[in-house]
Assembly symmetry: C2
Homo-oligomer: 358 residues x 2
């Protein structure tokens, strides 16, 4: 596809820890972002709000945004209450009239909005509802285990611990080393960054693993390594089904365990201190036990997210994770990712020497 | 609800091992079934075809069936190819005109068929699409762990090993013992037998556990024991996500492991001998490890499905399962279920004595 020119809507919720989709697109593709619509921070630069993103302007209105000639308006936050505000509908209609496509990762499909659908049709533009599952997904059939690329899956202690961020970092560095590595997106933010993928949390339950299988088959074309975006956690009380379906459907040859170093309890819960996060070695055991039941796999290293620690604390957290699990651990966004890259390269070499079935 | 009078459509596929939905409804509620429409066996009794079901007649046409005054036409098989044959559409329209409701467990929703929907409306009848997920399911929140009833979940080595059949048997016998036990259905056949439930394999992936939680909260009302219908297997490559979501959303206090004694490989696969079924003790380990991560639970006994074994072979299979796992094992459909019932009663007593959180 042509490189898009995004205008991101993050009105009312543009901030370091909240606007995850907007922030990730800006972090990985700042060159694609012409501006961010947020009346609260209008007039500032993205750098001032997020601490990265450079001189991308924050704008007060769609009219201002359209002056910057975007070709795609991307919805970068979930509006409060989950429903599309009437005001946003007007903005999106104006953007479609100005010749923009719309990329939407909300659970509410904008292609089903009669007004917006008609504007898109009349202007020959596309509304891309990222979470809409493709038709005719298969029941998983183990095909991902047979691809001619090394399949790597990130697995987590919880949601929102940095699985995607770690992977995008590692993908870039592996490609820099000459290893053809393809990131396959399984969630809305990853899809917005890559331009394709399937939101596996939005498919019908029977097809989670089938969706993962399709993604691996597609991602393996011409790749040495397929980097599958992990989701949730195998013990997350709400989302573990998605995590296990993804594990069994993608048939990873190796896994990288991701954790946010200062997190003690599974997030997302009313009772904040309900479920204590067990030891990392316990996760290694669970992911390996369940993963190996379908396809030979192992956890090869640990990615820690240490964003809220000092350098010294972050190094101590990595050392402690290494000691507890016996596996190399680092924060690949903050420190040199080489210890993790080395485990990937050597696990792939071992995989290449595996005895092959007929 | 009033007791329904079912006319079951099983045309072309009415047989002991294929028409699972039809057969289960007949097995558990023969008094509700006025007839079965199947041109292949028309003129016979259900007993002659299935080996149970007594004198329920098999009929050659919808007209014959309607003479028996059903109030509900129930689709008891999946038609070849998954799509509704045109002929069936005519039958269903005639049944709606004759004042019947329609219960449908196919993935294709008949309420969305314009012709049938219009006939239902005109006649004031209901089309119950069993697999259509309810709106506004929650993300699971651990609430099922707090209900004032003992929650029991069946878990399996594979799909279609007898989880539901075992549970319906145990539910009946527990109620006979005076323990108020409520079966909550999580799949289409169970829903047709109970008249309510949620097909957890048909909900959006993020809501599997939330659907299980809702079912337990509803099932616990006025019950001593909630018997949650299990689905799939924790290592089934296609459906494991549903199984784990159900485990974490329902927060069972105990589990019963179900297995078909002669099955060596996970079914459903192209490559028949792809995934060997591991030892039962390995399943006990996996279900307990993953289950306990969210709510205290344990496997208390083993239900074996021995339908294709001689009595002597079946007894040997039960003895061998007991020896391997250290847990009581029997076929509760074939033999006295007392060993299993005893484990349920005593596990519930132990649960009643548990230390309670404030």
């Amino acid at each position: 596809m042509a490189i898009p020119r995004f205008l991101i809507i993050a009105d009312g919720d543009f901030a370091p820890m909240t606007s995850k989709t907007a922030n990730s697109v800006i972090r990985y593709h700042p060159e694609r972002v012409v501006g961010v619509l947020d009346r609260q921070h209008a007039g500032q630069k993205v750098q001032d709000v997020l601490g990265f993103g450079g001189s991308i302007p924050v704008l007060a209105s769609m009219a201002e945004g359209l002056l910057l000639k975007p070709d795609t308006v991307l919805i970068g936050i979930a509006p409060a209450g989950g429903r599309l505000p009437d005001e946003w509908r007007v903005w999106l209609a104006d953007a479609l009239d100005a010749g923009c496509d719309v990329w939407n990762g909300l659970h509410t499909f904008l292609g089903d909005d009669p007004v917006l659908a008609e504007r898109a049709r009349a202007n020959g533009r596309r509304i891309y509802d990222i979470r809409r599952p493709p038709a005719n997904l298969p029941i998983a059939d183990g095909l991902a285990g047979d691809v001619d690329a090394f399949v790597l899956l990130t697995v987590g202690t919880d949601c929102n611990v940095g699985k995607m961020t770690s992977q995008l970092q590692l993908t870039r560095q592996l490609n820099d080393l000459g290893v053809r590595t393809r990131f396959v997106a399984t969630g809305q933010t990853g899809i917005m960054i890559e331009g394709w993928g399937i939101g596996v949390d939005a498919v019908i339950a029977d097809f989670i693993a089938g969706a993962a299988e399709e993604l691996v088959l597609e991602g393996a074309k011409g790749a040495d390594i397929v980097m599958v975006e992990g989701q949730g956690s195998i013990i997350h009380p709400g989302y573990s089904g998605v995590t296990l379906g993804l594990l069994h459907g993608s048939c990873p040859d190796a896994m990288i365990l991701c954790h946010q170093a200062t997190r003690d309890f599974i997030g997302d819960y009313r009772r904040k201190a309900w479920l204590k996060i067990p030891a990392l070695s316990q996760y290694v055991k669970m992911y390996e036990l369940l993963g190996n039941a379908v396809h030979p796999t192992k956890v090869i290293s640990i990615c820690l997210n240490t964003y809220d620690l000092s350098d010294a604390e972050a190094r101590a957290a990595c050392a402690s994770a290494e000691k507890e699990t016996g596996l190399p651990a680092t924060d690949p966004v903050r420190f040199d990712a080489k210890p993790i890259l080395d485990t990937i390269v050597s696990a792939r070499q071992e995989w290449q020497r595996r005895p092959k079935a007929d």
